[in-house]
């Protein structure tokens, strides 16, 4: 029964206060969610298999933390290579020179077409293919002959494999971002006397960033976990570090939990970083500044409370 005051003193109609529609379905679903969550938590806490004590013992173990550091290093370096390479490949792909754009296309085709794991194994055994490298003039004399076996350590092979592979994916992301920018922007920049490079750098790329950042965050999070593949080529990153420990103490479950906890901590940090990057590059796209994560969360809580009652 809607309340029916029509006007307040000033002659302006009062805000509507109506009895909200009842939504029993929501309460039922919510109850199910709570029960299932409670059951999961209870099992996780009480089941002896989880061995939380062991998890606690190893969470800050030096070997685990060193592995974590290697994981972070791998992620950062491989993503850095991937992004730089991706921008270059994307620019090449949009180049008016057909040879240059085909080269970029071929690269992307090759690296997206083969599994990362295979690429990692390949780089790890590259010495079998090229035992000696020669740095010098092409088809001419060489000046240095580094030994490939000592040059390509397991870590460097992992960086190469992950970075070069990432470059192919980033190239497509960057290209998608650049073609999403309106052509009128290029017209305007060129009419002001900017060169192609200046137009890209000052006008197109900053706007493309809005489109590029979300999938790049996704790629970074994915990369953080893909680094675990480097364990197969004996890089002691987080996953291999815990494997080494449980191969001695035979407690795989708690140690895999230790690794998972650290992966989740790292991805959570990346979430926050991505949110603020998006906020920065979103400036000018909307009339108002996007709220910070905390502001948005609080606003969401308030509005959902309103909807629920």
């Amino acid at each position: 029964m809607p309340s029916a005051e029509v006007t307040d003193g000033a002659g302006r109609p009062a805000d509507i206060t109506a009895v909200p529609v009842r939504r029993p379905g929501r309460w039922v679903v919510a109850a199910i969610v709570v029960v299932v969550a409670a059951a999961l938590i209870r099992s996780a806490v009480t089941s002896p298999g989880f061995q939380w004590k062991v998890v606690g013992d190893y969470l800050f173990d030096t070997r685990v933390l060193e592995g974590l550091l290697v994981t972070i290093e791998l992620t950062v370096i491989a993503m850095a290579i991937g992004i730089v390479l991706g921008v270059m490949l994307a620019l090449m792909r949009l180049s008016p020179n057909p040879l240059v754009s085909s080269a970029s296309w071929l690269y992307i085709w090759f690296f997206r077409g083969t599994p990362v794991l295979v690429q990692l194994l390949f780089w790890y055994s590259i010495a079998a293919l090229y035992p000696k490298l020669a740095l010098g003039i092409p088809f001419g004399p060489a000046f240095v002959h580094p030994d490939v076996n000592t040059l390509i350590t397991a870590f460097r092979a992992a960086v190469l494999g992950l970075g070069l592979n990432e470059g192919a994916y980033m190239a497509e992301i960057v290209r998608a971002g650049m073609i999403s920018v309106d052509e009128g922007q290029t017209d305007a920049a060129q009419s002001l006397g900017m060169t192609r490079i200046q137009t890209m750098r000052r006008v197109v790329l900053p706007q493309a960033m809005r489109v590029i950042i979300p999938p790049t965050g996704n790629e970074t999070i994915s990369m953080l976990k893909t680094t675990s593949l480097a364990s197969v080529i004996t890089v002691t990153e987080l996953t291999y570090a815990v494997q080494l420990i449980y191969s001695v103490n035979f407690k795989p479950i708690p140690l895999l939990i230790v690794a998972s906890i650290w992966y989740i901590v790292c991805t959570s940090v990346l979430y926050v970083g991505q949110y603020y990057l998006e906020r920065y590059y979103g400036r000018g796209a909307t009339r108002e500044l996007v709220p910070t994560a905390l502001q948005r969360w609080r606003a969401g809580l308030l509005s959902s409370r309103r909807e629920w009652t």
Binding site: D182, G184, Q185, D187, A188, A189, Q190, S191, L192, G193, M194, T195, R196, Q198, R202, V203, P206, Q207, Y281, R283, G284, A285, T286, R287
Partner: protein, 254 residues
Amino acid sequence: MSVPMVSAEDVHKRFGRQEVLKGITLEVERGEVLCLLGPSGSGKSTFLRCINHLEKINAGRLSVDGELVGYRQAGAKLHELHESEIARKRAEIGMVFQLFNLFPHMTALENVTCAPIRVKGMPREQAGSRARELLDRVGLADKLDSYPAQLSGGQQQRVAIARALAMEPKLMLFDEPTSALDPELVGEVLQAMRQLARDGMTMIVVTHEMGFAREVADTVVFMDGGVVVESGRPSEVLERPRHERTRAFLSKVL
């Protein structure tokens, strides 16, 4: 006798099979305001874009301030200009677009200072104070830090005019500058353009604003189907058109 600011001789332009300009010949003197009228698809905008080499012409001669657009003549041969030379020449020609094309990630002030800083290498403070002056002149002194999305269409277009003027162009091209605006915002943009004309700027304006053409233009050119149908003083072309096609067009828009 001084060289005309713009001189077009039998300019042709094709897009694939379709010929959009079929021999445009006209001259624009220094300080002259020329309005290009005509139905959509008549090639007005394309011709405008050819003048600063956003489009390449296929045949004919087109020169700005006595120099060919996009080429250098050596003897009987034409040499294509290098990209950086084309950019340098474009920097001397201002252009205002129908859809404003402001840079959305920059504030009004940054939009105006960007090109002087990056292209001319002007010191930041100097570019800033010039930009403030220009934005003040178009009535936007209080919108310096607003992003384009926070401005009305008329305000955006005035920022775009200030942005073009910041490069101190010798020629201004306007491509239907008021066509995307609400009727009540058209006036403020035309006012800024009128002021510019009074200050002696050479302007080529593609427009459907007959009132503006009549009042401000020195010459009116009516184009249709890629050719100039007729041109002359606004009083002649708009009041006593000689060609049937012009008469038919004017009767629809007036």
